[in-house]
Symmetry: C2
Subunit: 332 residues, 2 copies
């Protein structure tokens, strides 16, 4: 029912082969015929059937993206950047949300791999020892997780966390409490290690509560632990936990930024709009997304190339949720 290559060919009185080549912009077609064909095709409203093209070319022009949870504000900027970058390269994006079910990732990837040219795996939760499976499925780029021998786009939290610890010590805090993320999370292990290093460097005592799911509700739960413990400085695994924490502390009339300092990770849009505004570590999500697409597309075009590992940096954004120990801020 849609107009096909053969229809255009017939209308032009020439062979489908030539129409195909003309539309592909092949230099082997005489310019005048090419123009004529193009005009006719346009005017007939011809649009190629991508499915048919995929089958004959052995390439789908699509990539698959798997994320744990699109409702977590960490992911939308990455997804948007992936879509934008892919669209620019005329590549479609199939998105799968696994709802944080680590056990589903491999199976979903297996199905997805058959319909796309390659996969971007964002913050996969699959255990270390099964990660190699993904690489066998299709060309793959991992985002926010290091996998030996595979292409990765990593977010290096060390700088941001080091700045966070420095900032807190400058404000007089001697002890820092870390609200840990999910145990299976690679980011969490990375953040905890960086934090330990930074605390050692500045001579600060570090302790930990958790693990917590990356959701505000978990931060609410954490709040009561934090209150009971008497810590004056908290670094949360992510902004969601930090925001939940702050909301609950406010309920108990604790003044965040005065009685207690809170730092998140992600620098999500909400962090600038909470009250008080949330000091947070900026994570270049959008950049990670577009770099991932570039890496994947390059791997598809040059199958031989070495899998690249890109590390992106982070930095601290200071806002209202951190302040000096026991000292009143500006008079109001």
């Amino acid at each position: 029912m849609a107009v096909t290559l053969a229809d255009v060919a017939q209308a032009c009185g020439i062979s489908p082969s030539t129409v195909s080549r003309a539309l592909a912009g092949s230099p082997k077609v005489r310019p005048s015929t090419r123009e004529h064909i193009r005009r006719v095709a346009e005017q007939m409203g011809y649009a190629p059937n991508r499915i048919a093209r995929s089958l004959s070319m052995g390439r789908t022009g699509a990539i698959g993206v798997i994320v744990p949870d699109i409702a977590n504000p960490f992911f939308p900027p990455i997804i948007k950047a992936i879509q934008a970058r892919a669209a620019r390269k005329d590549t479609a994006v199939l998105l799968v949300d696994t709802d944080e079910h680590a056990g589903d990732e491999l199976e979903r990837a297996r199905v997805l791999a058959r319909q796309v040219d390659g996969l971007v795996l964002v913050s996969p939760r699959t255990p270390e020892d099964q990660l190699a499976e993904f690489v066998r499925l299709a060309p793959v780029v991992f985002v926010n997780r290091r996998v030996e021998g595979a292409a990765c786009v990593l977010i290096e939290n060390a700088d941001g966390l080091q700045q966070a610890v420095q900032h807190l010590t400058a404000l007089g805090h001697q002890r820092i409490c870390y609200l840990a993320g999910p145990r299976r999370s690679w980011s969490n292990r990375q953040r905890r290690a960086s934090l330990a290093a930074a605390c050692a460097e500045f001579g600060v005592e570090l302790s930990e509560f958790g693990p917590f799911e990356p959701q505000m509700q978990a931060g609410v739960r954490a709040a009561d632990l934090v209150r009971a413990s008497g810590y004056t400085a908290v670094i949360a695994y992510d902004d969601l936990i930090a925001l939940g924490l702050m909301a609950r502390l406010a309920e108990h009339r604790m003044r965040v930024g005065r009685d207690i300092s809170v730092i998140g990770v992600d620098d999500s849009p909400m962090s600038g709009l909470a009250y008080p505004t949330l000091t947070s570590i900026h994570v270049p999500g959008a950049e990670a997304g577009s770099v991932a697409v570039d890496l994947l597309l390059r791997r598809l075009d040059q199958p031989g190339s070495d899998p690249a590992v890109i590390e992106l940096e982070t930095h601290l954004v200071i806002r209202g949720s951190t302040g000096s120990v026991r000292l009143d801020p500006l008079p109001t």
Copy 2:
């Protein structure tokens, strides 16, 4: 390189036709052969090439979903429900985020339509007079927008808003200020109309500021207008605007729930976790998503069927951001 139908057929010593039928579960194949074929296929790791199947069947087994902005918390529940429902029906989902660019929707839909069996258009921003174009592209279901003659899943805000006005009047508020959403938004027009009706019913004065984009930042801007105006009750187009408003009011030491009452729309996860918690109108996003998939799939299977119009209801969820005029709440 992957194992194909022909490979399986050869391994079994029978024709590809029969293998195809056996795997499709056709009753025309002798049960014993069917079992044998299945075992061999399984053991060879055969998985059908969906692209090839699509081409020969004229159906892709995928649906396209277009949303204005995945970063807006209104959409993730809908998207997740669509994915879950589609996955259960063995249908893939191609997701496109238009970044609130109304002008891009039609073009993106056009491209998408060629790779899927049908489209779900969530809260499309395209002007009224071009909406019919989508229907011509492919089988379509609209979510959160009424389109004459097309299948729609609508969220009827009237009940929720009526409850909201009733709630506010019961608390003693005589005037209500509405913070309007985007002008091109169908929801906004619908909400404004329902609100006007409810206010008329309860004899409340209604005025309006806006339009505002559905983002917290817009709520921050709105806050200064609201403060200057002296209104004691505000209903915002959505939770994001309401949350931005609350954050900014808090900065100015206004006590939301006491000095002023604020109501949002969406009942997003954050509304229960802000401080104070946000009274909001619950919108059944997840239900809308799965109903939309059902509708679309039914249209694909029964092309003749009439396009259904489903209306989902809303209701008010009362939390901490609304309170009596000028009266102190419980002593603490």
